[in-house]
Amino acid sequence: MSALEPTKLDRPRASRDWSAADSGTAKSVAAALRRADLGDRLRSLALAAPLLVLLALSFGIPIVLLLSRAVYDPTIADALPQTSQALRGWNGTGLPDDAAFLALAADLRSNQAKGTAYELAKSLNARLPGARSQVLKTVRQLEAADRPPLEVMKAVPFWSAPGTWPVIESGTHSVTSFYLLSALDLRWNGDGGIERVSPEQAIFVQVFMRTFFVAAAVTLATLILGFPLAYLIASVPKGLAAILIVAVLLPFWTSILVRTAAWTVLLQKFGLVNDLLLWLGVADDRLDLMYSRIGLIIAMTHIQLPFTLLPIYSVMRTIQPSQMKAAYSLGAKPYTAFRRVYLPQVFPGVMAGCLLTFILCLGYYITPALIGGASDQLISNFIASYVNVELNWEMAAALSFILLVFTLALFGIFARILGLDRLKLV
């Protein structure tokens, strides 16, 4: 485009008579080119548009919707309109005035009439353990209507307990940080600060640490197993290398579910792994490898090994063997030559393979679900169980949010220092 800038075209001919007409022609040519260029851009955008729109609908919106559930929960605000109104003037300390109690009683009764009382009870219970039975009990007593509502409310100690009203007040704001903080075992304390939840309620930090630990252990194991094999494949003649690479690709091309199924067969009490351990004399008795941390790590290592190995291999095959020979002939010991000549060059491949495996391990779901025990479930399994068992979408969303932040941050590091081209998923 720049070669056709009108100024460059008309400058040498500036002295001629027809220069004005000529520069006009050049300008219109440039404009026409620019128009054509814009047309090309729009056409290529139009080609990509169907997939981009489909991905936005089938993938983008679902994820944004899910994540929004972590911070936006209008259940309580919708269920308690009068209470929200009454709590406007409350300063947040001590108990609110009787008007708030009456408003809450009215809201509870209207929820009972609409049939939404249980939903409200469940939603309050998620933020305030034990609230479900208290709400339902109060609703029943209000229904009986043998006493004035205020008296009923004051008679249930729960509504005068110090922790109750701040939770109701925070619930009347639809936007909440409650679930995100809970996902990190944190909560707001009474005076506007953030504190850790009590140790018996704290579960998620432990689950995240467990997920990181398993991911790190698997990454390390795949590196120890994969690096020498990648080196061997990159060093042997072409024909043999092709056979060896098939040994890596066959498991790579088998689905995670099938490989997990194979490991459930192998790890049984009377399975092949136990047979092997007995035969080698490593173990005196058959071990319980199924539903154990070690069984999970072994199976995940098997599944991830090609993901770590292939990026390392694709860097190693570009390194000339003559470089090592040159190092030797300059007097370097094998270890020195390896450390100072070979390793720095394969380092990007090692980083790519390890980061990829670590990122993928953070999201493991099938293998822990089938091979891990109750104490080996990773964060994805908790997300699934909050949806399937607890029906607590907000908590599932908050855990997804945190997991996604970690995943995308690591992926960003990957793209930043290694480039997207090193992402070998195909």
Binding site: R43, L45, L54, I63, L66, T254, V258, I383
Partner: protein, 274 residues
Amino acid sequence: MLLSSYPTTGERIRITLLWLWCGMVILFLLVPILVPVPLSFNSGAFFIFPLEGISTRWYEVVLGTQRWQSAIGNSLIVAFGTTLIATTLGTLTAIALSDEKFPGRRIVMPLLLSPLIVPVVITAVGSYLFYARVGLASTYAGIILAHTALASPFVVVTVGASLTGFDRNLMRAAAISGARPITSIFRVMLPLILPGVLSGAAFAFVTSFDEVVVVQFLASANQRTMPLEMFIGLREKLSPAITAAATLMMVLSIVLLVVANLLARRGKQRPRID
């Protein structure tokens, strides 16, 4: 092998250890995926070697009973639907992205790859939440849509790779000869990148056929696919029928991916026409 012309003792030991270690790693890679194969032909009902006898009774269970048959049928419906949509739209997108005039490629490419990076449980739970609202949960269309998101990145990447070897001058030649852009794409470009497109289609098919997490959240009881039946079977009780199903799935994905990779290589190696 790997030894220099005049190996020292230390070098011999190092190379021997390397071969031993790599031999063990290769056994570790291959044995687990090969073990279900003989077990699937076991005539007994257990997973224990030595086999009691050879029989195809577990294959008769997988291919003959109604439960597995409908699972295989569902898998095929979903996988073919996904392949069709993902290949068509993915190819168009790859063609668009291969044009250097495409605006914002550096933003679009990571977005297109993101379904591979986002943990699949998050995709599954999000789809469940959204599709239930718009009436797509428990429908084939919903499962196919979600699988298309997971499969299309493979198509974009594979077709994109085969387009790097495509000579854009051919498109200019077609335009000069009077072909409209659409005609030149169908008559000039598509025949030349066909191996890449077919390879992408095979990747898409396998991605959908092997997928279990999204299906677990989106499928109703009569939309269970083959992997989902396997997953449920593994959770409930281990039956050798699972090893037969696993063997069938393994053979299918390996065959398709071998074909896909051969095609992808052919797509990339095509000589340029001058």
